[in-house]
Amino acid sequence: MSTSGRIADVLPAVRGAVEDLGSVAVPTTERDRERRRIAALCAPFAVLLVVAGVYPLLEVVRISVSVERFETVGFTLSAYRTLVTDPYYRRVAFNTLWFAALTTLVSVALAVPIAHALEKYDLPGEGLFVTLVSFPISLPGIVAAFMMLVLFGNNGVLTNVVATFAGANPTDVAVAVSVPGLFLAFVYSMVPRATLILRGTYAEVEEAAEEAAQALGATPLQTFRYVTFPQIRPGITGALILTFRTGLAIFGTLIVIQTLLVWTLQLDRELSAGAFPVAGAMATVYFVFVFGFTALGLRYTSAEVGL
């Protein structure tokens, strides 16, 4: 009796869903036809997302709770327990977070004046500057690392200049393969991306208000502080969130300059060691963390969605 009652409750909902599907497949009204078009337009992306994104990620979650190393069998949380209790992994997590946070702050702090100069000042050769600042966006992390070797490595130009003046051995002065060198390599990759986002924000700043402030005697600093800054603040928040994501995802740079053990590098080492459950758990934690803070960041701040 109760079962049939429940079925009777469920039935209209099921029928509704079936009718929805039916109207998409065999549309009768213009509204139905539009829905079918939207479904058709979204379908290719959805297929790619499921085949290349959702299903592989589910497999990662399954292996992370597997009892066996190479097969998905049983259920255990031991990989996650290792991540939480082992001080080694806690230190890796700590390294990852402070390093990405600090490089993000420095990169965005540099990107604000760069975007300001490019958008507000009439500089000679402005188009060239835009091209030059954007060029490193298409360089992979390994190339960014090589750029740091060129400047600060054992053979590096700046290393040799400093060594010549200080009368020291170049290898003692070289900083490329050190944590500060890695820091500069991160900033090399992140500044152009942060600048790209902030230039977009600057393009929407209302100039009339700035001109009014200037006309009323505000200094450039006051104009920036009280008129420009409030307008670009959502852009800065967005740039912070997305540059932080970039910083967390960096991996190639770390392959060349292996001086700091962060999450992505450790993940690769687990893979090489064949520790699939731990690697899977690390990937899952990473994905959930990044997804979570991006969603929260974009939901609860006025940041703009973008790359």
Binding site: G53, V60, V256, L267
Partner: protein, 291 residues
């Protein structure tokens, strides 16, 4: 205090720009210069001009071991005389092809969803938009996922192409969407429909050609990023011809400094060349059809 920012504000901001641009571009220039040098042990590279580094990297001179250069594969056999075989450097060709494959998938999945979000109102639109423009999975994580889900397929060209296309799809959607948003989509669609074109025909022959500049720039961005993709390739690649980014990494880690400089410079050249090529090809291809 107030005079300070009036006096030094603009020079200080401009200085930050100049120093940063120097920091970004000076090593690029030094790398290109260094690739033509015989040795680079002092402050500046020395022993100009030699093409030996380039020749070795491109596989035109003999090299061994982990420093070995590109292999050469037959590309096409021309019907001249006994059949003249055109050869192409394998790694280069491989990466160009992989990235183009990724761009093709991006066109098929990216352009329609960008149109759906720009043109129509529907439930869950914000979510569809967020999912399509945010790069959700970083390369390393996607690599691990591919290894688990498709153990056989992940290391093949097909696996690499599919991975690249998912990783770079947001850039295509963003570029095309911003183009669509500057177009009067509703009028365009309704005019074409009222003149008797079916909806699929309207989309393919009216809407898409009109958005060509956004589509071409999206394709260029996706191509460059896919050709440079290292993280995903590094995790899934197993054997055979290496994608370009792995080839670069092998040289950076193992070769002499000048030779690594030649390999990296070659990459700079490719990025610039293909960008110009796609731009020229893209606009011409669409223009002849449009008029």
């Amino acid at each position: 205090m107030t005079a300070l920012s009036r006096r030094f504000g603009r020079p200080a901001v401009t200085l930050v720009l100049l120093v940063t641009v120097t920091f970004l571009i000076a090593p690029v220039a030094l790398t290109i210069v260094g690739s033509f040098a015989r040795e680079w042990t002092g402050v500046f590279p020395a022993g100009f001009v030699t093409f030996r580094n380039w020749a070795e990297v491109l596989g035109l001179a003999d090299s061994i071991g982990s420093q070995r250069s590109m292999g050469w594969d037959p590309l096409v056999v021309l019907p001249v005389g006994d059949g003249l075989t055109l050869m192409a450097p394998a790694e280069l060709l491989f990466s160009v092809g992989l990235a183009l494959g990724g761009v093709l998938i991006n066109l098929v999945v990216g352009v329609p969803i960008a149109y759906a979000v720009s043109r129509y109102e529907f439930r869950g639109k914000e979510w569809v938009n967020a999912v399509s423009v945010l790069p959700l999975v970083p390369g390393v994580i996607l690599g691990v996922a591919f290894l688990r889900a498709y153990p056989v397929l992940s290391g093949t060209s097909f696996g690499l192409i599919v991975g690249y296309s998912l990783l770079k799809a947001p850039f295509m959607v963003m570029a095309v969407q911003s183009e669509f948003e500057s177009m009067p989509l509703r009028q365009l669609e309704e005019s074409a429909r009222s003149l008797g074109a079916s909806w699929p025909r309207t989309f393919l022959t009216v809407v898409v050609p009109n958005a060509r500049s956004g589509i071409v720039s999206g394709a260029i961005i996706c191509w460059t990023l896919a050709a440079a993709e290292f993280n995903f390739s590094y995790v899934v690649w197993a054997k055979g011809t290496q994608p370009l980014a792995l080839f670069l990494q092998r040289h950076i880690s193992n070769s002499t400094f000048t030779k690594a400089a030649a390999a990296v410079s070659m990459f700079f050249c490719i990025v610039v060349a293909i960008t110009l090529l796609l731009q020229a090809f893209g606009t011409r291809g669409f223009d002849t059809r449009g008029t």
